[in-house]
């Protein structure tokens, strides 16, 4: 308790050397780094799929589209524990798909960072899709038509006109995904449990801390880190959005 106090006062009093390192315990650092890693890779892998799904939803019609639409947005409204449980049933060690993932590819998701990344990706996916879909719907189809009369094929039009004009939406979708992945709790703890260094991201670490008799200070420090990270993501999104809008002439 005493040690914790001194760390806190160090935080407030401004000891300059090794400021950040000194602010957090190694355990807390692990959680922060893990969180950032999970959030980054979850967003990185889900982004192309999010663009594809957004395109399907905004630009195509096919039988069963309503159901597809519903399934895409389902993780947003389902209790996250349910999402985690569904992941466990499907991708767990004895899950419908999970057993083959292990047998064929040697991929194990349970208790691993990869599993935490999957959980974060699934939960943040609807938010990403939604942001990208909105930006896609805002793209003037007349411009795409003009591009085709100039000799560009559909695919060419997508990469030379549609995608650049969607950039603000893709960027804000990505930052939203990172922010929500940083905060993911329910699905992660249900699916891949709470393993230090593997799946214990910031929210899980805070949860653990509140169960420890002297964990208040740790919870408080991680809360501060959470706020700083979330705020940075929002500010960055704002800045990048303005930059890109100027770049593509929508200022």
């Amino acid at each position: 308790m005493n040690v914790e106090r001194s760390r806190l006062s160090g935080f407030a009093g401004g000891r300059n050397d090794e400021f950040a390192m000194d602010m957090l315990t190694p355990e807390e650092w692990t959680a922060v780094q893990l969180s950032l890693r999970v959030a980054f890779w979850a967003t990185f892998w889900s982004l192309p799929f999010a663009v594809l799904v957004a395109w399907l939803l905004a630009r195509t019609s096919f039988p069963g589209k309503g159901l597809f639409d519903g399934i895409v947005y389902l993780p947003l409204v389902l209790p996250k524990v349910v999402v985690g449980y569904l992941l466990l049933v499907t991708l767990g060690a004895r899950g419908y798909l999970g057993q083959y993932l292990d047998a064929w590819f040697g991929i194990r998701l349970i208790f691993t960072t990869a599993g935490a990344t999957v959980a974060a990706a699934v939960v943040s996916f609807p938010l990403t899709v939604n942001a990208i879909r909105l930006s896609l719907e805002a793209v003037d189809r007349g411009l795409e038509m003009a591009a085709r009369t100039l000799g560009a094929s559909r695919l060419d039009v997508f990469f030379s006109v549609t995608l650049p004009l969607m950039l603000p939406g893709i960027l804000s979708g990505a930052l939203l995904a990172i922010a929500s992945a940083l905060g993911e709790f329910g699905a992660t703890i249900t699916f891949v449990s709470n393993v230090e260094g593997q799946t214990r991201t910031i929210p899980l670490a805070i949860y653990s801390a509140t169960h420890m008799p002297d964990g208040d200070a740790m919870a408080l420090r991680l809360t501060v880190v959470s706020i700083v990270l979330a705020l940075s993501a929002l500010l960055l999104a704002n800045l990048a959005d303005r930059r890109i809008r100027t770049m593509i002439g929508r200022a």
């Binding site: 007349g142 100039l150 000799g151 560009a152 094929s153 650049p164 770049m247």
Partner: protein, 391 residues
């Protein structure tokens, strides 16, 4: 030859039937009020709209043939499409907009980047972004972009409609230059009589999805049957003339057409220049004998060909003057009082001031000599000012 023969039916009740052949060189105007189906036709030519039946071919290339199951993709048709709203890519600079089509052009290029930039006067804009351009500049860049895709024909959808009068007159000379220098076939959608007279050689007039007239400009635009499109005020006869004389003392010019001469206010064109004069039917008065002691300058002898009673108190009297036709709108009451009948010899009177140089004289496209028809040095043009010529 651009052959169009299509049928389009839309659930909302709009239906379009169009069959015409446009020449390989020069401007063919699709002329009509909004909702007439003009834009739908060029959208079908571009491949943006698929007709329910029919055939579209440009030269040897069949774009669309319902019966043979041919429907060439938009990008394979190689049509330059200039939209009413320019549609420049907002994320690219002017130069990269221009290069967009150039990079994707197929076949042997017929026009180079520098030539297009010079012709349209857009070199100083190359580094700019589209949203910093004025409406007129945007439209010029859009035209350049379409040209650099090396199209086999150009489709222009009311490229001037979104511009004010001043911008219009700023762009028209560039369009004339384009017409005269590239010799590309152009389908030009317009609802403006002035633009049609000034730019086109051939006209297809449309009303409510049906063609009501098609053919050379002077013939079509002189027919009373296009009244629903042009409106009563602009109904008139078109004469393709050349400038025969200038009379600076009185500030008058003499225009010669096939069968006579017209004296009009001074025309800002050199001797021999081709001009198109429009005599509004409402500005023509008729007399049984050669009038004397009248102020009217132009007296033309002719015979009555036909008299058609129109809506309201009006009748259209078609006179034959030499080999040309001249239409006069008079009251049905006058027809009766003078006992006009086909075959009668008459005198037509046209006030010189009624042929206002600002609203009724246009350089005729066909005979426009190379090097002529470019933008005048002083930037002034003689087009399409508001109709204020009644005197």
């Amino acid at each position: 030859m651009i052959g169009v023969d299509i049928r389009i039916d839309r659930p909302g009740g709009f239906s379009l039937r169009a069959a015409f052949a446009a020449p390989d060189v020069g401007v063919t105007a699709l002329f009509g009020r909004s909702g007439a189906g003009k834009t739908t036709i060029i959208q079908a030519v571009a491949g943006v709209v698929r007709p329910d039946a029919g055939r579209i071919a440009v030269g040897e290339t069949v774009f669309f043939d319902r019966d043979r199951g041919i429907d060439l993709p938009i990008e394979a048709r190689r049509v330059g499409y200039v939209f009413q709203d320019a549609r420049l890519f907002p994320h690219l600079s002017v130069e990269r907009n221009l290069r967009y089509g150039e990079r994707r052009a197929r076949g042997v290029p017929f026009i180079a980047f520098d030539a297009v930039v010079e012709m349209l006067g857009i070199r100083h804009l190359l580094a700019r972004r589209p949203h910093t351009l004025s409406g007129g500049e945007r439209q010029r860049v859009a035209i350049g972009r379409a040209l650099l895709a090396q199209p086999r024909l150009l489709l222009m959808d009311e490229p001037l409609a979104a511009l004010d009068e001043q911008r219009k007159s700023e762009i028209l000379p560039y369009l004339e230059r384009l017409r005269d220098e590239t010799r590309l076939p152009i389908l030009y959608v317009s609802h403006s009589v002035d633009e049609v007279l000034r730019l086109s050689d051939t006209v297809v007039a449309l009303a409510q999805g049906r063609m009501i007239a098609a053919g050379p400009v002077a013939g079509v635009m002189s027919q009373p049957s296009i009244l629903p499109v042009v409106g009563r005020f602009d109904l008139g006869t078109i004469f393709d003339c050349t400038v025969a004389r200038h009379d600076p003392a009185y500030e008058l010019s003499t225009l010669r057409f096939a069968d006579g001469e017209l004296r009009v206010p001074l025309v800002d064109q050199p001797l021999g220049a081709p001009v198109r004069a429009r005599i509004r039917s409402r500005d023509v008065a008729l007399a049984l004998a050669r009038p004397t002691d009248v102020s009217v300058t132009n007296l033309l002898a002719g015979t009555v060909k036909s008299i058609v009673r129109m809506e309201g108190p009006y009748s259209d009297v078609e006179l034959v003057v030499g080999g040309s036709s001249l239409h006069a709108t008079v009251t049905a009451e006058s027809v009766e009082r003078l006992a006009l009948a086909p075959g009668m010899a008459l005198w037509a009177m046209i006030k010189a001031v009624a042929v206002d140089s600002r609203s009724t004289l246009f350089s005729a496209p066909d005979a426009a000599a190379p090097g002529q028809g470019g933008p005048p040095a002083d930037g002034s043009t003689q087009v399409a000012a508001p109709h204020q010529s009644r005197s």
